[in-house]
């Protein structure tokens, strides 16, 4: 081996402490975090449908819990998590399938868009629910 220059074109694994903070990395972490949050959220959705099958008494209890102001905050955060995971997940499908959106500029732009979309879509869902309900 002559010289110390690294000529292998393969990308190097980044070191944790010098890993530059950027949008795609934040989106990746948020994707995982929202996924784990929804894991626990699924127990609540299960509680809703199981109480519906159990009868009016059980459903009435769950309904009172859902209508509590604190539950509205949880529901809104649930909607944000679902919308983020959905939008960001579709991004991954475009990466893995047709390999679209890999260039750093597009990838960063989409990552930022997903955050804005998640909050806007969750607000839209709540507005629609208020109109219907």
């Amino acid at each position: 081996m002559a010289g110390s220059e690294w000529t292998d074109p393969r990308p190097l694994s980044p070191h944790l402490q010098i890993w530059k903070y950027h949008a795609t990395m934040a989106a990746s972490i948020t994707h995982r975090a929202t996924g784990i949050a929804m894991y626990f959220g699924s127990f609540l959705i299960a509680a809703w449908i199981i109480s519906l099958a159990a009868g009016p008494e059980a459903y009435g209890f769950v309904e009172t819990v859902i209508q509590h102001p604190l539950s509205n905050i949880v529901l809104f955060l649930w909607a944000v998590a679902v919308m983020f995971h959905l939008a960001n997940g579709i991004k991954y499908l475009f990466w893995d399938g047709p390999k679209i959106g890999f260039s750093p500029k597009v990838a960063s732009g989409v990552a930022v868009f997903n955050y804005i979309f998640a909050v806007a879509a969750a607000a839209g869902i709540f507005a629609a629910a208020a109109l219907i309900g």
Binding site: G35, Y39, A46, I50, L52, A53, Y59, V82, L86, G97
Partner: protein, 129 residues
């Protein structure tokens, strides 16, 4: 970059780890299903919860709603199991704890599947649709 794998290795396409390809594909196929089902599910939750117990029961008792609910629960819980399996494998290094959490993950997902799907079926069947 030159391909250093043998001909049979390339055909099998399993890489050095020998497994994981199936997990990867299942994760994405369930994701495609959920990209369609989740927007519907959001609508379903709003439509089903707006008019109390009887309204929710009537919503779930409709055949299409019952079918889509079961598909959503099935795909979401399967996707969830695969995702959390990866998280556990990534972050829990201690073998015993890791195995215990992986088993717990499997049990939790199957319990949720049984509970949610059976509930939808009970509502649907008892409505006599």
């Amino acid at each position: 970059m030159t391909n250093k794998s043998t001909a049979i290795g390339s055909v099998r396409g399993l890489g050095a780890a020998k497994s994981g390809t199936e997990h990867f594909i299942h994760q994405r196929v369930s994701a495609i299903a959920l990209a369609i089902l989740v927007p519907w599910f959001i609508y379903a939750v709003i439509a089903a919860t707006k008019s109390g117990f009887s309204g929710a029961e009537a919503f779930v008792a409709k055949p299409w709603n019952a079918i889509l609910l079961i598909l959503t629960f099935g795909a979401a819980l399967y996707h969830m199991r695969l995702g959390v399996q990866t998280v556990i494998e990534d972050y829990i290094a201690k073998s015993g704890t890791r195995q215990a959490l992986l088993i717990l993950n499997t049990f939790a997902v199957f319990a949720l599947m049984a509970g949610t799907i059976l509930s939808v079926m009970k509502i649907w069947i008892s409505a006599g649709a």
